[in-house]
Amino acid sequence: AGFGSLMQDVLWCFSQVKGTIDTGVTEADIISTVEFNHTGELLATGDKGGRVVIFQREQESKNQPHRRGEYNVYSTFQSHEPEFDYLKSLEIEEKINKIRWLPQQNAAYFLLSTNDKTVKLWKVSERDKRPEGYNLKDEDGRLRDPSMITVLRVPVLRPMDLMVEATPRRVFANAHTYHINSISVNSDYETYMSADDLRINLWNFEITNQSFNIVDIKPANMEELTEVITAAEFHPHHCNTFVYSSSKGTIRLCDMRTAALCDRHAKFFEEPEDPSNRSFFSEIISSISDVKFSHSGRYIMTRDYLTVKVWDLNMENRPIETYQVHDYLRSKLCSLYENDCIFDKFECVWNGSDSVIMTGSYNNFFRMFDRNTKRDVTLEASRENSKPRAILKPRKVCVGGKRRKDEISVDSLDFSKKILHTAWHPSENIIAVAATNNLYIFQDKVN
């Protein structure tokens, strides 16, 4: 808009919040994934109860230019149900771990949604006309007595109230022994991959009864297991290239042209450890929780417990940029280990131009880093800042003794309010932030 593209000029405003205001949180309503589609017209969320809710951006109206198109519910459906694995006596959670959109090729929308074990391809389509005037059945659908029909007519399509239907077109099941953490659609739009803790499988959208195993890091003896796969993604343009991250803080880039089983990486990204910072928690906080290619395909971004790092694909020995998300937690690692917060998996996202990156933190804070100006900001998703078009005030965490009026001390942070999932519109400054069971939508200020 008129403010320019530097982040210091971007003022983020509250736009909408979805979800209940009740203080008690139903566990099934906890949002577990958020994703814009490729045009930004649709915004999908998945929750712990296995449901998918899709919001659609309304057309901007000239009457209300400041509203910039609000997102309203477009479709809601139950994607996954809880299951029981009888052989292992394990429940299979219906929680939606990831949603990934396919690029739109016709009037219908397609998305992949996955829980721990099964990936499903959903088709979301509109119906706004229905045929009326059948000969053999009446308006209620009851069959008419053929001998009573004296006139023939051609059924016509008449408009009806818009109905949005979601139908499962493919179910990709029984291919993962361990829990699926990532899915990624390939740039060829014909294949996609699903990654669990130890294996990555390549699927063709048309074939559900088999998949290719392209990565397998399971040791012959499970007692020797020391590392797991934490995230994986295809390169945005090169359909033969993908990356996967590990719990030891490494990223491997693989080329599917070299071998059927990509056990040997083409590139291996790892930052040497800083010996002065070494502790018993070093490995845990180095575990990468998310990996994302930039839109350009030249960089990858990784998130570990305390930092976000940007890597140049051409430089494997260290990241080109490191951003501290909440370094004040470094002295609290023992407590965070005890209450399991140290295992929280935060995601990270690029903006459309790859100039700003965003990730979540605790106390419903989320952070943005401008890669060009090196400025960063901390914002909060809360009901208190939820007046329409209210500008979000930057937040600050006080580390030392003197706490200023607007600052919050580390010990006062609410670690149950964590922002794990965020999404950035592909081309505009619109962001979606999942705060437990609420979805916040923020936009930059318009004149």
Binding site: Y86, K88, S89, E223, V228, F281, E283, S287
Partner: protein, 244 residues
């Protein structure tokens, strides 16, 4: 005196200060080991163990074990008689996990809450203050001393390695009998732990923090029988399915 950084604090300079700091470092390390082993057992009981978390905790345990073996402290701690030593270990775990306010009031630390500012400074408090709160943690003490009672010093390392291996084996081959398998080679004092933790299996949505809190409440004989019947139902269902 080279000393590894624990929890991000600065190295203490000077040999005198270094010598004073060593016991607290060992205590902290031991309590971290205890905590990690408890976590591994817990995640074993939950219906869906998170493999990444288990692997990271197990790696932490291995790191501690390696360092303690190099130090020579591994043998030292386990040759002590069980009664006094385990009590000390448990007290230090409390210190690590409680805020200073909670220590005075004797409350169990909540899963999410305010954090202790500096664990080292709490460590320096006289032990009599922390001993007085020992009575309020009756249940966790019984649990922990039962689990980690080392009877034979020579077998310590073997037992430890064996339990880690067992954990990974049973992560791999989860079966209706896995709970019994895990404890099959352990003496009967574990029985209370077994029945109490199987109660968690019926509540599959419980988070890890909730599980740690449940640890502190006294075992209820009524709930024990409920847990047993839940397991029996499960076996019954499996039988029916296999027969059909």
């Amino acid at each position: 005196l080279k000393r590894k950084c624990f929890d991000g604090e600065e190295d203490i300079e000077g040999t005198l200060a270094g010598i004073k700091a060593i016991p607290s470092y060992n205590l902290q390390r031991q309590s971290l080991l205890d905590m990690s082993l408890v976590k591994l057992q817990l995640c074993h009981m939950l219906v869906e163990p998170n493999l990444c978390r288990s692997v990271l905790i197990a790696n932490t345990v291995r790191q501690i074990q390696e360092e303690m073996t190099q130090d020579g402290t591994w043998q030292m701690i386990n040759t002590q008689s069980t009664g006094q030593a385990s009590l000390d270990r448990l007290v230090s775990t409390d210190i690590l996990c409680r805020s200073s306010r909670d220590q005075v009031e004797g409350k169990h630390v909540p899963g999410y809450g305010t954090f202790n500012k500096d664990f080292e400074s709490d460590q320096a408090q006289d032990s009599s203050e922390t001993m007085s709160t020992a009575s309020s943690v009756q249940a966790p003490r019984n649990l922990q001393s039962n689990m980690w009672e080392m009877e034979n010093p020579q077998e310590n390392k073997g037992n430890f390695q064996k339990s880690l291996d067992q954990i990974f084996e049973t992560l791999e081959n989860k079966s209706p009998n896995s709970v019994e398998d895990l404890f099959s080679e352990v003496d009967n004092s574990y029985y209370d732990l077994d029945t109490m933790l199987t109660g968690m299996m019926s509540n599959t949505k419980m988070g890890h923090c909730d599980s740690l809190e449940t640890f502190s409440s006294p075992t209820n004989t009524a709930s024990n029988s409920n847990c047993k019947s839940d397991l029996n139902d499960l076996d019954h269902i499996v039988e029916i399915l296999v027969e059909s």
